[in-house]
């Protein structure tokens, strides 16, 4: 109540100032009259009484001021005064104002743009109920080198019944379907959810319902929940879709629900079906095939949950040693699961852009210091008239914050333009990394708030020291002295020098980081992935199991498709593989020598397997190192053969010839003879992975004719542009089977580029920031040196008059700047040594302390500093001693 009254009265006083003042005047007059009247009664004369009363009360103006200061509105009024004065001051020096605002707009704009990405990707709440409590649970087998393994159903059931930390748990597995009956046949990735999975995520459907508990039973399980995008694009957002049937792999499923647009777990999935568990899968602990998501009970931390789950896992290890030996549990937050691979790059970028802003602040602080020196008389007069130091500081800070807020406002425009460019940083096609699908980066209230906060803080950062410096003026001193020589002082100079050193150091830090990232990126681009991605068209085909029931059918489809495609004009050679490298799809199998137990340490990670047609290696240009490739003679009826990659060969038979030896591949019957060794292929691309799946490069291949698969990825090497034959290649598939879905028709180059898209974006941005930093730092050095040289005109004049050569003057001025730059470089190198190791997870093929990069960036900076000093030095060299001496 009191607060509101106080506010209301203050606002009234602000807006009806005249009236408030008039009332106070009347009250004061009344007081004076009463005092006089009393004195008259006491026997004083009219004149004496007036004088005495006046003395007692003092100056009515002073009283008025004090009454005024008692209300909060006076602060607002002073601020308003300061604000108008600041505007006048800025308008009076348009050059300074323009440079400062432009610098700030760029700095704050870039910072805001990067923050808006962080906001969208890492800070915005995930569209699930209490998403902070959602945790993915993975199997972990350190001995074998996995930390993110799938889970067996019996293990899951034991976890469910024994744990006290989770509210609920759900299981899921991915499925691929061919959707027919709604336009062209369409290959969709679906997820089979246990009914509890929707409850774990806690999002109700937009239409209809999710799965009932009994819908996992055979006969009831042909129900499907659609995602929003599929409902919209394939079914015209028809609200009457509930209860209708769609065809998945030729079987009829009843649509029972549609999920809202925001619900997209996992990202690439279009529909959900109930998870059915075969009796065998329900018992077998070695069948690890489901993904588990769980919801923590309120108040339970990840650490507690992890401890509890690992206790249970240890119990299961003891109870079931044959299947559960070495198996523990890894917990991963949903947020990390969705955007784990983008955290470090974003963090690095945000830090870098903040450094750029700091460097910009140093430049503006420098400009403000020069201005403060020029304004010393003004400040002295203010101080002489009774302005307190606090009052002067406040006025200066109002000016700098006004600057930074205007800069921030323009910066928002920069950011608005910038986020448009940044969206491209997240191509929706990146399939080999945990990167959220980002369709837009909104400038929301958080971003606006951030921009405002950064603007104000920036204003304080660059304004505070100049303001404190400027206000430390003794009025008599500086009023007496002529404005020129008295200003500055050694302290102020030391501060400027410190600013320049800091700028150089920060720039070096950024340049070094950018240099390391560029070097790493060049390594990645030039790195041999184990195949040649140029001029290869790829497409993926999943043969629906209802149509292709036998291996014979699959084999004949594969053979016919390949011979048709190879006959196309412009096609050099074509092949198929189960999992295309860089596609984000892969499968691993244990490979061993028959009769010899596997040493898990040596087989870490497990090799990627692939069932390939004979032409695959030549289509991908995977080099054959030893032995022979598969041929048409390696058929169903001939001896079982395999080809292994070079690293796997070394792991299995160190220093021995692998050709002709036998291997056993988990999941395939019998032993196979190794007929060839091919080069390693980086199945998941290079670098950038936080997970342990990185740099998988051991492979085992079997002939497609011996082990046909439902999934066929085509690799088609072309003579010209691979995409030019995309249509023709698809039609060849449809010529065999009109209802067959063909998906991911793209060139291998695109896949390779997408797999590096995040690194590329990081490198480009970091290089831009480093360039900005370099530019700002050189402006900073230039400003300080030319200021210092101009202040020393008199001294230089004397030196020249006494016979100094222009080269002496050059050395004098450039030397001053170079010493500062050198100090900055040394500090920067020390800082970079300490900090670049945070980059190491992002670097490929280059150490975080790469001496060449460090040396190169130091030289670049010193060279730029030299140029920045040379310009003022030349001006100083041309000083005419007569003019310089007469000047004072």
């Amino acid at each position: 109540m009191a607060l509101i009254r106080n506010l209301a009265a203050g606002i009234r006083a602000l807006f009806r100032k005249e009236k408030a003042n008039a009332e106070l005047d009347e009250e004061l007059r009344d007081y004076l009259d009463a005092a006089i009247a009393q004195k008259l009664e006491g026997g004083m004369s009219q004149k004496e009484a007036r004088r005495a009363a006046g003395l007692e009360i003092g100056s009515p103006d002073a009283v008025r001021e004090e009454v005024h200061a008692a209300g909060w509105e006076s602060i607002v009024e002073t601020f308003w005064q300061d604000f108008r004065f600041a505007l006048r001051m800025l308008r009076k020096s348009p050059g300074f104002t323009t440079v400062a605002i432009a610098t700030l707009a760029l700095g704050i704009g870039a910072t805001t743009a990067i923050f808006s990405v962080v906001n969208t990707v890492l800070l915005q709440p995930l569209p699930y109920k209490d998403a902070g409590r959602l945790v993915a649970i993975w199997g972990s087998n350190k001995a074998r080198g996995y930390t993110l393994d799938l889970i067996s159903v019996p293990d899951l059931l034991d976890w469910k019944s024994q744990n006290r930390v989770f509210e609920s748990m759900g299981a899921a597995t991915d499925e691929m379907y061919t959707l027919t009956g709604a336009g062209e046949p369409y290959g969709v990735i679906g997820y089979a959810f246990s009914p509890s999975f929707f409850d774990v995520l806690g999002v109700p459907p937009l239409l209809g319902r999710t799965f009932a508990t009994d819908e996992t039973q055979p006969g009831k399980s042909h129900v499907v929940v659609l995602n929003y995008r599929l409902w919209k694009t394939r079914f015209g957002a028809d609200p009457g879709i509930l209860g209708t049937n769609v065809f998945l792999d030729g079987q009829s499923y009843t649509v029972i629900g549609v999920m809202p647009r925001s619900f997209q777990y996992p990202e690439s999935v279009m529909l959900w079906t109930p998870l059915t568990i075969t009796p065998n899968a329900a018992k077998d602990r070695s069948m690890r095939w489901v993904r588990v998501m769980a919801r923590l009970k309120p108040g339970v931390t990840m650490t507690q949950a992890s401890a509890e789950m690992n206790t249970i896992a240890a119990r299961l290890q003891a109870e079931y040693p044959t299947t559960n030996k070495d198996y523990s549990v890894t917990l991963e937050s949903l947020r990390h699961l969705i955007s784990g691979d983008v955290r470090t790059p974003l963090f690095v970028l945000l830090c870098s852009v903040c450094l750029v802003l700091l460097i910009a602040c140093a430049n503006i602080a420098n400009l403000l210091l020069s201005r403060a020196t020029a304004r010393q008389r003004e400040i002295a007069i203010r101080a002489a008239l009774g302005a307190s130091r606090f009052r002067v500081v406040r006025q200066f800070l109002t000016e700098s914050i006004l600057l930074s807020v205007i800069g921030g406002g323009l910066g928002l425009l920069v950011a608005y333009w910038g986020v448009g460019e940044l969206v491209a940083m997240f191509p929706t096609t990146i399939s080999n990394l945990s990167i959220p699908r980002v369709e837009s980066i909104p400038i929301d209230r958080w971003v606006l708030g951030f921009a405002l906060l950064v603007s104000v803080v920036t204003g304080l950062v660059f304004g505070l020291v100049p303001a404190l410096r400027a206000s430390r003026v003794s009025p008599d001193q500086s009023l007496k002295e002529s404005g020129r020589t008295g200003a500055g002082g050694s302290q102020s100079k030391r501060f400027r020098n410190a600013l320049v050193v800091a700028q150089v150091a920060f720039s070096l830090l950024l340049l070094t980081s950018a240099g390391l990232m560029i070097k790493s990126f060049l390594h990645l681009v030039r790195a041999d992935l184990g195949f040649q991605p140029d001029q290869v068209l790829t497409m993926r085909v999943l043969l629906p199991s209802y149509k292709y029931k036998t291996p014979v059918q699959e084999r004949s489809f594969g053979d016919e498709a390949l011979s048709r495609i190879e006959a196309l004009p412009g096609v050099k050679t074509a092949g198929t593989v189960t999992f295309l490298p860089l596609s984000g799809w892969w499968g691993t199998r244990e490979v061993s020598i028959p009769g010899r137990p596997v040493d898990p340490q040596k087989m870490n990670p497990q090799p990627v397997w692939g069932s390939v047609s004979p032409g695959y290696f030549s289509a991908m240009r995977i080099p054959l190192l030893e032995g022979r490739s598969f041929t048409a003679q390696d058929s169903d009826t001939s001896a079982k053969v395999a080809i292994i990659s070079a690293t796997l060969a070394r792991q299995l038979w160190p220093n021995q010839d692998p050709i002709g030896r036998e291997v056993a591949i988990d999941g395939f019957d019998g032993a196979r003879r190794v007929v060839g060794v091919v080069g390693d292929v980086y199945q998941l691309g290079l670098g950038a992975h936080e997970s342990d799946a990185s740099d998988v490069k051991t492979e085992v291949y079997v002939p497609f004719d011996q082990e046909p698969t439902h999934l066929l990825c085509f690799a088609i090497r072309t003579a010209g542009d691979p995409l030019s034959i995309a249509k023709a290649a698809q039609s060849q598939i449809w010529a065999i089977d009109k209802g067959q879905a063909v998906s991911f028709v793209e060139s291998m180059d695109e896949l390779a580029a997408d797999s590096l898209a995040l690194q590329k974006a990081s490198v480009i941005l970091l290089a831009i920031f480093a360039g900005l930093a370099l530019m700002l730092a050189s402006i900073g050095i230039y400003g300080v040196i030319s200021y210092s040289a101009s202040r020393r005109t008199h001294e230089i004049g004397i030196r020249i008059a006494l016979g100094a050569h222009s080269s002496d003057v050059l050395r004098l001025v450039v030397g001053e700047g170079l010493i500062l730059a050198l100090a900055g470089v040394l500090l920067g190198i020390a800082g970079a040594f300490a900090l670049t190791r945070f980059l190491s997870s992002l670097l490929y093929g280059v150490g975080a302390a790469d001496p060449l990069t460090f040396l190169a960036t130091a030289l670049i900076l010193l060279f730029v500093a030299l140029i920045a000093c040379y310009i003022p030095a030349r001006r100083a060299m041309r000083v005419d001693p007569v003019v310089a001496l007469r000047y004072e």
């Binding site: 109540m1 009191a2 009254r5 106080n6 009265a9 203050g10 009332e23 106070l24 009347e26 009250e27 004061l28 009344d30 007081y31 009259d33 009463a34 005092a35 009393q38 007692e56 009360i57 003092g58 002073a62 009283v63 004090e66 009454v67 200061a69 008692a70 209300g71």
Partner: protein, 111 residues
């Protein structure tokens, strides 16, 4: 020593104004006079601190100002205690008495 008017103990002016107004509404001059009279000239308040105090108390809702005619038919702003002001005065008085008693005890114990 007592002849010379003392400066007010910090923060007590507000309390004295409230106390003065507890009897009847008064205008500025009247309040100043009353404080001087009651304290037998020990405290002398000047306009420079009195008026800001009025503004403060008014804002805090402890007193209410109203323009009225004086005895000799002039317009003057009369201040009256609000209900809240009365409560505040009681609380302050109690606190003050408690403190004075405590201080007195300490001083006497040492004497």
């Amino acid at each position: 020593m007592i002849d010379k008017p003392s400066a007010l103990v910090q923060g007590t002016l507000d309390m004295l104004i409230l106390k003065t107004l507890a009897l009847e509404p008064l205008h500025g001059w009247g309040i100043a006079q009353r404080i001087e009279q009651i304290s037998r000239g020990v405290f002398q308040v000047n306009a420079g601190s009195l008026f800001p105090a009025f503004r403060r108390l008014e804002r805090a809702g402890l007193i209410d100002g109203e323009w009225r005619a004086t005895e000799n038919n002039r317009r003057a702003k009369y201040y009256a205690l609000t209900k809240q002001g009365r409560r505040k005065l009681e609380a302050e008085t109690k606190e003050w008495t408690r403190q004075i008693a405590a201080i007195t005890r300490i001083l006497e114990a040492q004497g």
